[in-house]
Assembly symmetry: C2
Homo-oligomer: 143 residues x 2
């Protein structure tokens, strides 16, 4: 079961978040998905249905359309999987306060996912959002 959940999570991160295949959400998510904790995420504290989750994926990926999640490690117990990850992306579309810059950004995060019957029901997450802020605000080297 825990091995299955790791495999499911690996495919979910690759297909949905890295490749941006929003329709694949149907195969991975439970009917309700709760974002228990995720500082800086616009959906922090909310419970989403599948349509709302797809909207979150689309909106979150838009500023960094070539983003990639690179799994570093997974730890699974019962219906939980903790995942340590690195993330890279190029800032190609506007965000509030940050017009598209073309800058390459690389950060890390850890997420504790919950499953029920092989489907994702929510997460508790911390991302290095200061890393994003610092990399978007730093000056380019003069050329």
């Amino acid at each position: 079961m825990t091995t299955d959940n790791k495999d499911i999570l690996t495919r979910f991160l690759q297909e949905v978040w890295t490749e941006g295949n929003v329709d694949a959400v149907d195969r991975y998510l439970a009917d309700q998905y709760t974002i228990h904790h995720d500082p800086g995420d616009a959906w922090h504290g909310r419970t989403l249905d599948i349509a709302s989750f797809k909207e979150r994926v689309s909106q979150s990926r838009a500023p960094f359309p070539n983003q990639r999640f690179i799994v570093q490690e997974m730890v699974a117990e019962g219906d939980k999987v903790a995942c340590a990850w690195l993330w890279t992306g190029t800032h190609l579309a506007d965000m509030p306060g940050f017009p598209a810059s073309g800058k390459a950004v690389a950060i890390s995060g850890l997420t504790l996912y919950s499953f029920s019957d092989g489907r994702l029901t929510g997460h508790w997450q911390v991302t290095d959002r200061l890393g994003v802020y610092q990399q978007l605000t730093q000056q380019r080297e003069s050329t």
Copy 2:
């Protein structure tokens, strides 16, 4: 084994990081402890012996001497334990660029700890360091 590691980690966080009992490190740490990943931590990427780890605890706790780690959830598998936590502290001593302010700070983080024979050998961690920065730089309400 995994239950033991959760119990050990719970006591380590309480005694060492919350209560500031630096000598208790002797009972929890392996001879070498590697900080594999911890953005913003001064010891990121380094392998510490027990004396160096004690110095890290003392230096890290100094600006927030009443700090508390409040464990939210643990997920254990083999020799790994992932831990989601909340943290509170009052900023009572100087940090580089941040003179003591008396401000209350509350953030969160996730840490993936490694064990060997019941002793801690390292971690991979992400903390909400933007939360610290925002709370230390925000203006107090006018009185």
